[in-house]
Symmetry: C2
Subunit: 87 residues, 2 copies
């Protein structure tokens, strides 16, 4: 038995990581998801809180694809599967 | 009186432009909006058709801000007003 270091994002304290870089990525993903959820809910107030959250998480998880689409390649969106993607 | 050239996007035939570059921009914005609406509706099936459309148009109109947010600056989303923006 030994003491070991684990890492977590304060936004999601239940999820522990052995690797700090992975914890950082998770934290950044959640930060983007939160800001997206807020922005989209403000823009389309008829969205429920759940819908806003789902949209934020989905887009943040697929950040690279959306970055391309918004930059100059809308067709990049075709890369999105309909399955929720692993992080 | 004279014959004159006007431009329009086939995605929005009622809107006429005197300037071809403006018509192009409008067409590109609508293309991105459509693809976003589809992708978001697939990801969050509880969205109504209207909600998906509103989200797509809103994000496509504010494409530069979302491009920054997805690239590496989530804080860019603070630039979004709650007002619908001019194109």
């Amino acid at each position: 038995m030994a003491v070991e270091v684990v890492y977590r994002s304060s936004r999601d304290p239940e999820r522990l990581f052995m690797d700090k870089a992975e914890a950082d990525r998770h934290d950044k993903m959640l930060e983007l998801a939160e800001l997206l959820s807020e922005a989209l809910h403000k823009a389309v107030p008829s969205l429920s809180e759940n819908q806003s959250e789902e949209l934020g998480i989905y887009m943040a998880r697929n950040r690279d694809v959306f970055a391309k689409a918004f930059k100059n390649q809308p067709d990049a969106l075709a890369e999105l599967g309909s399955q929720p993607q692993a992080e």
